[in-house]
């Protein structure tokens, strides 16, 4: 009962660095980037365009830490989406592994 009340009250709670959202509105990709800049998002109820790109969805967790979002995945079922709203800093080069 208490859990239902909390869920319906649209509350969110802080778990380490991750904000787990109890109830949020559907957001467009532009709104996600604006509201959660430079963060990893866990998105449910998402819609894709014809090119398999995220159009809109419901953000259920957001964090600066990718591992926290991977952990938050365990709390959800069905079709899910991970999205990063940031970009690799200009002074950083990412080197990917070689297959031998």
């Amino acid at each position: 009962m208490l859990a239902d009340k909390e869920r319906n009250a649209h509350l969110s709670h802080v778990c380490k660095e991750t904000i787990v959202m109890m109830k949020t509105a559907l957001l467009t990709i532009k709104q996600m980037r604006s509201q959660y800049p430079d963060q990893w998002l866990l998105v449910t109820e998402y819609e894709l365009d014809a090119s398999t790109s995220l159009r809109k969805g419901r953000v259920v967790a957001h964090s600066k830490n990718r591992d926290e979002i991977h952990r938050a995945l365990k709390q959800h079922t069905g079709n899910l989406c991970i999205h990063f709203t940031g970009r690799v800093p200009q002074d950083t080069v990412v080197v990917f592994p070689c297959l031998g």
Binding site: I82, Q90, V94
Partner: protein, 134 residues
């Protein structure tokens, strides 16, 4: 025509990649970097586990990977279906390996996916097109 736009001033081309679970009952959309220099597609191990795959199965073939910190042997699994830039490949072999969080991605879209299509990258405009060739 299936196409995506990306930030041409960025350091890499990042696209969304849709993976289906083994029984087709669920899916996961993740950001991956498009890499024409990679022979195989790579996806984070824990995300594949979350989807219902079992990279720990001893029967799986393992692929040698050379990283900055040494040599690793990563399992290769077959994903029921994978979709990017509007195109789908069934039974795609992927390598289970975690990329660093700083990369901003959860995987790497390699040639074993891309070679099924005609790939056009318009670097100045930041457009990637992927079409079936006749």
């Amino acid at each position: 025509m299936p196409r995506v736009t990306y930030d041409p001033t960025g350091s890499s081309i990042i696209v969304d990649f849709l993976l289906e679970s083994p029984d087709g009952s669920s899916s996961l959309l993740i950001p991956v970097v498009l890499d024409t220099g990679a022979s195989l597609t790579i996806v984070s191990t824990e995300l594949l586990v979350r989807l219902g795959y079992d990279p720990a199965t001893p029967l799986l073939q393992r692929q040698r990977i050379v990283t900055g910190s040494g040599i690793e042997y990563a399992p290769r699994i077959t994903v029921r279906s994978a979709t990017a830039i509007g195109q789908t490949v069934s039974n795609l072999e992927v390598l289970c390996h975690n990329l660093p969080p700083e990369s901003g991605v959860d995987g790497l879209l390699g040639l074993n996916f891309l070679r099924h299509f005609k790939l056009t990258i318009r670097f100045r405009k930041g457009i990637v097109e992927l079409v079936k060739e006749r």
